[in-house]
Amino acid sequence: MNNKETFHYDNKIVKWFAYATMLWALVGMLVGVLAAFQLVFPDLNLGLAQTTFGRVRPLHTNAVIFAFVGNGIFMGVYYSLQRLCKARMFSDTLSKIHFWGWQLIIVLAAVTLLAGFTTGKEYAELEWPIDILITIIWVVFGWNMFGTIIKRRERHLYVAIWFYIATFVTVAVLHLVNSFELPYSMMKSYSWYAGMQDALVQWWYGHNAVAFFLTTPYLGLMYYFLPKAADRPVYSYRLSIIHFWALIFLYIWAGPHHLLYTSLPDWAQSLGTVFSFMLIAPSWGGMINGLLTLRGVWDKVREDVVLKFMVIAVTAYGMATFEGPLLSFKNINAIAHFTDWIVAHVHVGALGWNGFLTFGILYWLIPRIFKTDLYSKSLANTHFWLGTLGILLYAVPMYWAGWTQSLMWKEFTDDGSIKYQFLETVVRLKPFYLLRSIGGTLYLVGAIIMVYNLIKTIKSGSAVNDEAAEAAPLTDEYVPHHKEHWHRWVERKPVQLMILSLVVILIGGIVEFVPSFLIKSNVPTISSVKPYTPLELQGRDIYVREGCYTCHSQMVRPFRSETARYGEYSKAGEFVYDHPFQWGSKRTGPDLAREGSLKLRKSNSWHFNHLYDPSTTSAGSVMPKYPWLFENDIDMDITEAKIKAMQTLGVPYEVGYEKIANDDLKKQAEEITADLQKEGIKAMPQKEIIAVIAYLQRLGTDISAEPKVSQK
């Protein structure tokens, strides 16, 4: 062609995102290691509210997902998109806003999460002002990406870009729907949804955050960087078409598999199971296409550290996406859910798939941007082996811990009573937790070595911030010169591709949500379930603030081992005033759904002592101390706003109740204080601990107050 245009790829923005990826990798993993050690040595919270497990754990998950992997995505997308479109990014300004906006979100997230501002919904803990900021920055990203795609010099969109587009639209939908919340203060809000519906929306989001933040963009990256690094053609174009559309269509339905055996309606649970099972093939489609692309260069895999990282990444992806569907079967879920098995499962995905693919890309990308060779191959190999060993040392003890825990929970003595107290299971798991922490540390050390190696590489080269390239612009007319695959059409039409993927991903959500929200029988009303008192509501918000849900579930499943331990299994009608729901996903501590019931009820003084120092009532417990609850005063100025917000959300407090709510609050606090007084404990009624006690004593009591389930 003779009408070629010369232009420059923007490598500077890629470089920045690469730096951010490395920085947040270390931060996210370090926080993870801290959290892991805290589960063995709770005193590692240093006695500070800000560094206590319940706040550190959300920081870890958010840092790893949105900071480390997020920047990894943008690094890879900004590098590959320009080259696949034969065009510079649409706007350098948008790129800069995107970069700095995203880093600002991360910093704000870290500060607010540690300060205790959380929505209490996993992987969506960030509060409403940050949610708005995320929306804006995400739109900037999409705008920049689509601008680049529109002015591309390559007629057809490569499979990697399909994945980027699907990622963009789906994450936007997920974020908007799940972050629907009602602010009642500058930094705090209540989830718009309650109880079962909140759980359904949250796990639709949570599962698809895994799908569309940790999986689809990374598949896109794999489709670019793996064939590049291996210098081999992609194995099957047809496979990539089918597995792409099947993956994004099926993934969106699978969320309810996080809620098997809960109060979610059975039909929704079953949908979650079958769609998860159908996901095996589309997920493996990506793995097959990746691994078979390496046909003919397996000898190279032995030598090339980039390919080694990528092979392990793709293999870990295959393992995790095979295990996931298996975990979605009810009989396996009954063993695995709420245990460390799930923790092991997600870390195979995160450390193996996301971590190793990112490392592989970094080792490939940095020397290219800096026009130099990697500083040390042997350090990179050391990283590879440390990382692999770290994953093994992390995963194996966690699998073992999960099975141990589950078997102990379910074990009965011959005369039909529970064999192990919950605390016994906690104590039993400590060695596993310690091993896991060591595994995580090894992985972190590997990452530190990588960062050192890459810094040395960067110093030895000089950045090509604007890389020259040339390509002919697209002509208006396109005539295929021979018969082409039908899918080629949509590959020429980015907007149609986006709309089509939007439609495909909306179907599953709509089918699951609409009946859950509109059909009454899905939440049988329990007339004895009443709204929380103002004091209990305050206590509940403290419970959310401290991240209690990271270790305590509030969901008694219909198993004999649970009803024997915790009492009657939970019903959807019990949670109708829970904004947000607090069912939890992990039981490091016991379930609290019926903590106030006759079966489990403890005295106020027990809770008082337990929260002050858990070891006084439960020797060997890994729960941290909460001394600040005994110092902080309940924020009574905000009670009115809270009650008002709840009223708006449909919680039936009487009209005008918000004005007198504090009177009731004080009265109930006085009662609890008086009761504590009887047991020789002097407590002040305005302290947060009183609100927490009130909340805990309320949990699970309504259903037995007047057991009347009416199903309309």
Partner: protein, 399 residues
């Protein structure tokens, strides 16, 4: 060539043997489920382990097939025979393991389980676990062998390219129909004119195993939905719960009944159940009337209806006398009357108190105030009491 076919058939034969083992295991499991009240077949742990065993077996099968197809050149014949031999040995081992597991399951029915693991007999658990581990090792080892062969193949691919490909009908079937494997050299035939920043794409077919696997998952999904929500074949969570609780209660009752066999003088009580007392009366009428009279009024032996007792009036005291006899002439009944029935008899005797039958024998022994220690319910053992105590304790101890 003949040798190759032979070794292939050896693999197939072994696989079939494995299969029949697996089937046996399945049948045993079903049988066990029918017979045993514990119903190991519905044990989630057992089921998942069994399913996993099956899945891994399939993987081994597939990998062996891959191995067969990967091994084609003369150079590799040596490895081949060694490989096949080792597979046979290992599979035999695995097979014997599952046979062992069966045996373990059978024992599980007869021996009483002391420390079950996830409601499975430890022997069954560890056997299954062992099988799983061995299968995993076989898989790992097969993968390594295959990888080594593939890598070597890459190195000699130039030489191999010249050779005429000849595989057995079986290996061709596996490679073409199931894996859709095409040699790397054939890539140029399916190379598309796509070029994205230097990345090219091949137009290879979907791997058949992947495609049919996908169909299979869809069909399974449909069956699952229909089975749970239309025909109601499978139990929903709450029904599952009711069954689980009912089964556990039955098991508990059976256990308690069995525990009652261990009644002795230390824990015997006077039962108040009408049917237990009826049994006691029956035995009394058969064995005791000769000395104590048909109404317990006393003939040779003392009157049992008054408040005077020679050896104490506690259930344990009575139990001991019936069991061991006395030096005044009453025989030990322990070999004639079961422990439970001794308790039933003394319970019947207890009902006679104050009945003032005609011709009652004069009182003998000391007078006891009526403190009779009647157990209120059927609780025939001390466990009920201790359970209550335990649960009180657990309330205190629970986190």
């Amino acid at each position: 060539m003949i040798r190759k076919i032979k070794s292939a058939s050896l693999v197939v034969a072994t696989m079939m043997a494995m299969n029949s083992y697996a089937q046996d295991a399945a049948t045993t499991a079903v049988a066990a489920a029918e017979k045993a009240p514990e119903s190991i077949g519905s044990n989630p742990l057992f089921l998942s382990m069994a399913v996993l065993t099956g899945v891994l077996l399939m993987v081994i099968f597939i990998l062996s097939a891959v191995l067969r197809t990967s091994v084609k050149t003369r150079v590799r014949e040596a490895i081949n025979s060694r490989t096949v031999q080792s597979i046979v040995v290992l599979l035999m081992l695995a097979g014997s393991q599952s046979a062992f597991a069966q045996a373990a399951e059978k024992t599980a029915e007869s021996i009483y389980i002391d420390t079950p693991i996830g409601n499975m007999h430890p022997l069954a658990f560890y056997s299954l676990f062992g099988v799983l581990i061995i299968e995993l090792f076989v898989i790992l080892w097969l993968c390594l062998v295959i990888l080594r062969i593939i890598v070597k193949k890459e190195e000699v691919s130039a030489a191999a390219a010249n050779q005429v490909k000849s595989g057995s009908a079986f290996s061709t079937f596996i490679s073409r129909k199931i894996f859709g494997v095409k040699p790397v050299e054939a890539d140029k035939d399916v190379l598309l004119d796509h070029d994205y920043d230097g990345i090219k794409e091949l137009d290879n077919d979907l791997p058949p195993w992947w495609k049919y696997g996908f169909y299979m998952t869809i069909i399974t999904g449909v069956i699952y939905m229909v089975g749970y929500h239309i025909t109601g074949t499978f139990k929903l969570s709450n029904e599952e719960y009711d069954t689980e609780v009912a089964e556990a209660e039955a098991k508990e009752a059976a256990y308690r009944a069995k525990m009652a066999m261990n009644v002795d003088e230390t824990n015997a009580v006077f039962l108040s159940d009408a049917d237990k007392i009826a049994i006691g009366k029956d035995i009394f009428m058969k064995n005791c009337v000769a000395c104590h009279g048909d109404k317990g009024q006393g003939i040779i032996g003392p009157n049992l209806t008054d408040n005077h007792w020679l050896y104490g009036n506690k259930p344990g005291d009575l139990y001991k006398i019936v069991k061991n006899g006395t030096n005044k002439g009453m025989k030990p009944w322990k070999d004639d009357i079961s422990a439970v029935n001794i308790q039933n008899v003394i319970s019947y005797i207890h009902t006679l108190k104050g009945s003032n039958p005609a011709g009652a024998k004069a009182p003998e022994g000391e007078l006891f105030e009526d403190e009779g220690a009647v157990a209120s319910t059927a609780a025939s053992d001390s466990t009920a009491a201790s359970t209550v105590k335990d649960s009180v304790k657990s309330l205190e101890v629970k986190l």
